[in-house]
């Protein structure tokens, strides 16, 4: 029980429940399955990206900020390629993942080889990827994407009819998110690779001396982030059905904040898939609530900013208390 009280996920879940209850009591439509399924679908892009961010944060050091640029490049490249040469969802998917993983691997390589903090390298690669995307494509907007994106985006599992005759169900896009969560959980909790990532995040020097191949682990993590950015790109295209060069870029800070709210430590070695899920869910509920409560869109950023600020303060206070508790234990033991 005590361990539960020390976990961010627990407080986050309570906060989300309270928020849901409050929004639901003001606008009962919030609890309609159509609404919940819809905001789960629109949050999938952030949700998939959050799994990648979680891995980088667990590995330690500063966060990666280039993953949205990678997703943007993957989205644009895949849409242009499938428009030109045709294809299907499977091909688009593989292409996006390959592009993402390759760009991510470049990040990993630079970070490991030059031994520079992640944020500096990724600020740089963000600008290179994003700037070159604009230069090469001329910043044009693609409003017509291949029809298979539309089909994929509208595909439903467990569909059902509402009173008005409309169809609703779990979107395949949402399943991409849950699939990414499951894959992330499996790697982190059930494989040696996952243990190695956690170990390296906890103490890189110790991990290296234990014989772990830190190069390979770091390259894997950054390629994995890139790969998930590719998946997120497919999810995003299937939802918005267009390719706009600045439509994903700009979300990176919100995604990082969501993962940190979920309890991932900025100092590495700590973080859970559940936390990454709940963090994204909190922002999804918040956004949805603002719409349902008819709050002017001018207030969006203020609300999100306040949520990030309060959230990171809360986790910081928690960690502060945990550290103090630790010191107390050591002092008592010494005495």
């Amino acid at each position: 029980m005590k361990s539960l009280l020390n976990r961010n996920e627990f407080y986050l879940a309570i906060l989300i429940a309270v928020l849901c209850a409050a929004i639901g009591s003001l606008n009962p439509h919030f609890f309609a399955p159509q609404n919940i399924l819809a905001f789960l679908k629109t949050s999938s892009v952030n949700g998939i990206l959050a799994v990648g961010v979680l891995f980088v944060l667990i590995l330690g050091g500063t966060p990666d900020v280039s993953f949205t640029a990678i997703a943007q490049v993957a989205e644009y490249a895949v849409v242009l390629a499938t428009l030109k040469w045709g294809g299907n969802v499977g091909i688009a998917f593989l292409m996006a993942c390959a592009i993402g993983a390759a760009l991510g691997a470049i990040n990993g390589f630079l970070i490991h080889y030059f031994r520079v903090t992640t944020i500096i390298v990724t600020i740089a690669t963000f600008n290179v990827y994003y700037g070159l995307l604009y230069v090469l494509t001329g910043g044009g907007v693609v409003f017509v994407v291949p029809t298979f994106f539309k089909k994929f985006g509208e595909s439903l599992l467990f569909s059902s009819h509402d009173a008005a005759g409309g169809v609703y169900g779990v979107s395949l896009v949402t399943l991409l998110w849950f699939g990414a969560l499951a894959l992330g959980w499996f790697i982190l909790r059930r494989t040696f690779l996952g243990r190695s990532i956690l170990a390296m995040g906890g103490n890189e020097v110790a991990a290296e001396r234990m014989g772990l191949r830190t190069v390979a682990i770091r390259l894997f993590v950054f390629s994995f982030v890139g790969l998930l950015s590719g998946v997120a790109a497919i999810a995003h295209t299937s939802i918005v059905l267009s390719a706009i060069p600045n439509s994903i870029v700009g979300k990176e800070l919100e995604v990082i904040a969501a993962v940190v709210l979920g309890g991932a430590s900025l100092f590495g070695g700590r973080g859970t898939i559940l936390g990454a899920f709940l963090g994204v869910l909190l922002f999804a509920v918040l956004r949805n609530g603002l719409v349902l409560l008819n709050i002017s869109s001018y207030w969006y950023d203020v609300t999100i900013g306040a949520a990030i600020t309060i959230g990171v303060s809360f986790s910081a206070i928690q960690q502060l208390r945990a550290r103090r508790a630790k010191v107390n234990v050591i002092v008592t033991e010494a005495a």
């Binding site: 520079v116 900025l266 900013g305």
Partner: protein
Amino acid sequence: MNAPRRIAHGFADAPLVAILVAVVALMALANPGRFLSPGNLASLAYQLPMLALLSFGMMISMLTGGINLAIVSSANLTGIVTALALKALTGGDSASASMLFVLIAMAVGLLGALASGALMGFLIAYLEVPAILATLGVMTLIDGINVVLTRGYTLSDFPDALLAIGNGDVLGLPAPFILLVVVVALLAILIRQTRFGFDLYMVGSNLTAAQYSNINVRSVLMRQYMLSAFFSALTGFVMMGQFNSVKSNYAQSYLLVSVLACFLGGVDPFGGAGRLTGMALSVVILQVVSSGVNLLRVDPFFVTAMWGAMILALIAINHFVGQRARSRSAAAIMTNDKDIRLAAGGADKGKIEERR
């Protein structure tokens, strides 16, 4: 009192001087007759202060091992609050506001920026939120407030006295440039001659040692973020004159360039090292490059990619130079390899683990 780390290192800025000479020559060759023209040099002197003031504000937060991602947002906030205060004071006729009203409005705008700095300082110093997250949250918050205050519109109609800060001239010299020189001179005194300046470096180079040396770390961090926000406020006033208007999302690309400026100027992002001369050379280099490619009518997104490539090139140069010529301690700057940093003695374990 002398700041630590200013040990004899010969002429440490020689590489930067070489880069400056090289980029000036390059830009002069690429824009024959235009780049070194008096008109272009004057416009350089008008444009430099915005980038420079933001970069020095960024440098101040990096000296303690922090970062200030809200630097541009605070500058926009200053401009917006000043414009709104002026409007309220004059009952709508901002353009003909009296000097007294202008000063009052600027004071209100300055207070807005200082409040944002105090909020960041509080989160970082007292709640021990990592600086990158605290300033990220505050940045989003301020951007939101800016949108709410302006409803997304552009505000303009300012009195000449206010616009002069950004676009006026004094004795033939651009007013913002004079402001920059004065402010940097004051900053140099603050950093080199005062207790606070010494404490900035101490907190950044070894937090634990600073705590045991009777330095009030929380107070230093608090004042540091307010000082950083003060630089945002000055930038905000300069921006009002340069853009002749205020808006919630002006100059956002400057955030990255200010980080790049610190990086190029040799400021250690983990804190404790960074010199004003290096920063001064670095901002001039970046402004020369920026103005030069602008004259060439290069795609602005190509410039974005170029800034990124420049950071990567610097990282590579640092790496190779560090490997060959310098000691392990120099290589440890910028590295995230805890082992090397520990071996270098520049950082202790406490600093790495409790880095803010």
